[in-house]
Point group: C2
Chain length 188, copies 2
């Protein structure tokens, strides 16, 4: 029971998502998740604070990866080009995670509470990105606007990536979304 | 008690905001709001579903005004130009409301539950705007990206408008934010 379980964390996440898809998020208990994973509830709570956290544990890592990549770009680069490098880091983060991301998205769209949580995570990402841009010397309102644009590109690019009938590299969708936004704002 | 109260709705909103600012949103009850406004709780509930609704009753009107203005622009206009007309309609909506908007914003920033609600309202605005753009014949992902950009411009422009030491027309901040975003994305 208390012994080390190889990849318990990953197993719990997969099983949780399976149950949320089958029964709905609200109808699933931690006891059921642990049981199907062949683990104890205690093990579950060693890895996740609650059943919602299973779906959002990756969000903080994602924000970190995004922001760190932007911070590491040489200061001579234009802010939007630094953000584009950050979007590549996001694409890297999601390699081999498309199936999980798709199923996670379906669960989130089905539950108002989870949609709210997702909006909070995106707002946090935008705030962290704006902060990083200001530390790169970008003035306001350009820092906040570029950050909002970066998160919008991520959001739309991500949805297109998981919605595509065949798997294609996420970075292509990110670049495409950036180009589309640029065209939408300037007409060329 | 049951009689018609002139401008009960506006008085309740002003008194509620006053109490939220003084005591905090969570610490304020509907009974206290009604009492200070010299009205009954029953009158309060004739105008607002709950104490949170006092702060968000305007959001749906705002979304409607924004979306309607965009829908009414001749179809020959570029999507972002239609959105700019919508932003002017928003500026129109907020004429004479700066003081209320500032105090409301302070209350919202102080309470996590209200911040979440605000994020939901902004997401709803973006979805409604994307829908309007699609009905104007704008394809995806341009429709979603332009809508996200429009809401980002509103958000940042609004914050700058309420944050400015002196009152200036909101439409100027909206135009400035649009120009800044354009520059951030294209470098010119």
């Amino acid at each position: 029971m208390g012994r080390w379980e190889p990849n318990a964390r990953g197993r719990l996440a997969n099983v949780a998502l399976e149950l949320y898809s089958e029964r709905g998020f609200e109808q699933t208990t931690v006891a059921e998740i642990a049981k199907r994973a062949g683990l104890t509830e205690r093990t579950f709570f060693r890895h996740y604070a609650d059943k919602r956290e299973v779906l959002f544990a990756g969000s903080s890592q994602l924000e970190e990866a995004f922001v760190k990549a932007v911070a590491d770009v040489p200061k001579s680069a234009a802010p939007i080009d630094a953000v584009a490098v950050g979007l590549d880091a996001i694409a890297e983060f999601f390699v081999d995670r498309r199936d999980f991301a798709r199923r996670r998205q379906a669960v989130i769209m089905a539950t108002a509470e989870l949609q709210e949580r997702e909006l909070i995570k995106l707002a946090s990402m935008s705030a962290a990105l704006a902060d990083t841009l200001r530390r790169r010397g970008v003035a306001e309102p350009a820092a906040s606007l570029t950050a909002e644009a970066g998160v919008a590109i991520f959001k739309v690019g991500f949805e297109r990536w998981i919605g595509a009938p065949k798997e294609r590299e996420m970075s292509r969708f990110m670049r495409e979304s950036l180009d589309e936004l640029r065209t939408a704002l300037t007409g060329n």
